[in-house]
């Protein structure tokens, strides 16, 4: 738990400075292009409602986390702005079993909050690789930050726009790239939507 918090703080610091520590070499840009490509394919899977295939690109030990963002006093943001993974209530703090249940539920055809299915588009941008393990020549795990814009239109008139940041750990495995950890920072305090039936 502590290790994870520290890890997250590190990523947050890097995001705050806007400067990745990694040298912008041709290898970096190649890897970044691969990461972008991975996200575009992921967006296709979700927007084309290929939910089972989406589950396949999640690591079996995935941590999928969306904190609640709170209005706190200046100086308290690092400690108190976001609810914490592994503690108390967030919007999502779950594993692959739960995500699979969410997919199963949509595929019952009687999950009325997604029946009829919503129309959803994921836009992913501002992709930056913040860390590569063990190194750029032979990468097996990446820390990648990005921005998302998720547009949902539901039935006739319902529309919602979700905008925020994602902090991902991506694992490069023999069976392809897998999301091993995803932190989703939605830029809202009180959720301005009736439901979060979509995947981020």
């Amino acid at each position: 738990m502590n290790a994870m918090v520290q890890e997250k703080d590190k990523v947050a610091t890097a995001t705050a400075t806007g400067n990745s520590a990694i040298q912008r070499t041709p290898e970096y840009y190649r890897l970044k292009a691969d990461a972008e490509d991975f996200y575009y394919r992921e967006s296709d899977l979700l927007d084309e409602r290929r939910f089972r295939e989406w589950l396949d690109i999640l690591a079996d030990d995935i941590v999928y986390f969306m904190p609640i963002r709170r209005n706190v006093k200046f100086g308290q943001h690092a400690a108190r702005e976001n609810t914490k993974q592994g503690e108390g209530m967030s919007w999502f703090d779950e594993d692959k079993w739960t995500l699979s249940k969410r997919v199963d539920q949509i595929l019952t055809g009687v999950h009325y909050a997604e029946e009829p299915l919503s129309r959803i588009t994921h836009m992913v941008s501002n992709v930056q690789i913040k860390a590569v393990r063990p190194d750029l020549d032979k990468p097996s795990e990446l820390e990648v930050t990005s921005r998302f814009l998720l547009y949902q239109n539901r039935v006739e008139y319902e529309t919602y726009t979700f905008v925020g940041r994602r902090n991902d750990t991506i694992r490069i495995t023999e069976s392809g790239w897998k999301v091993a950890r995803r932190e989703i920072l939605l830029e809202q305090n009180i959720l301005l939507a009736k439901n979060l039936t979509m995947f981020f």
Binding site: R70, K73, F92, R102, I190, L191
Partner: protein
Amino acid sequence: MPQNEFDKLVDIDKGFVSREIFVDSDVYKEELSKVFTRAWLMVGHESLIPNPGDFFTSRMGEESVILCRDKKGEIHVFLNSCRHRGMKVCRYESGNTSLFTCPYHSWTYTTDGKLQGVPLYKTLYDGVLDREANSLVSVAKLHNYKGSIWATWDKDAPDFLTYLGDAKIHLDQALDCRDGREGGSEVIGVHKWVFPANWKFAAENFLGDTYHNPSHRSVDLIGIGPSAAAGKKGRRDDELEKAQHVWISFPQGHGVHSALQPEANEYIESFMDNPILEEYFRHCFEERKKRLGENAKLLPFVGTIFPNTSYHGRQPRGLCAWHPHSPTSTEGWRFFLVDKDAPTEAKDYLRRYYMRYSGPAGMTEQDDMENWLYATAASTGTIARRYPFNYQQSMGAYTTDHQLGGQVSLQITEQIARGFYNRWASYMRNAGWDELLGASAQNRQAAE
């Protein structure tokens, strides 16, 4: 609106409630002034403000309030608006402070609500501005009930326990420890979200609308309960499997769905996903039986304390406040509860279960929100408004001499909803507290 209009909108004897009360903006405005300024409203929980100087911003009706523990440890609830020009004096969700400093002209208020600092007090106010009279506006009454904090703006309101009446032992089931000790709960997090539906859809849902079960078919098919990984379908535990369910309408407008265990009152294995939890909850069940004896047979399900506080007594345990935003928009707040001294493993399990079940990200309640939205939206039309909602289910199928008090039904019933809207109409007619607490019509006429 003329007073008797409300009796036309709510026709309990025939079992009709006009759609106007769910969509009309005049009715809504009157609700804010007649219901939300008088009834007891739940504003939070003491575990959110454990230390002197701790505050948590909450709501009563449409308005922002500050729940705050002062320097001496006493709890207060204030309107979150400066007495000078109305600026919100606190825009943080929670925290600890010794003063609330107004951002506009810098008046400051102490944690017991007193106006302390007024810039240029001597020069511009001749040093005579009455500080006492310009304190933050405080609620008229406040009550800490087993950790949950309730308040009302009406100084003539009865004390909270009188208001709660016989619904008390049902609400207790949400607030007491799983092993039967009184109180002892803590809030482990709050969900807040806005959904486009009238607030009464949510309140009515939790009164005990068990009839809407089919809308949750999708979660029941896949299984998300505490034995789901072990292959069990459904969305909850099975503890009420052998119980006699009861649906009760209380004269104050509250309604609950609870259950009475059979004579033997045996524990039913419910947490098959995790042997440690199974052991823990079995232990709690047995302890509770020892502690409460016969009374342990009562187990909770859901309920609504009039007008807009609901609870889930078992899984996912917590309190809800349905804050009105507009006739067709509501801000839902869910305070999730666990026993403060529950083992870490149990707390961790419960929070995960609450998250996958409840609120806008919850697999069960997403379907509720869908229904509330489209039921509201499809009732706004000119033609739609001519046709009242039907509340004729289980008419007359209740007894008034049950040990649990109120009107007890042993089958799924809309009697609770009829009771709720009947009382709602009393508030809208500006009835006196005798009637609001349920004095019978005859007594009322005698008094008039």
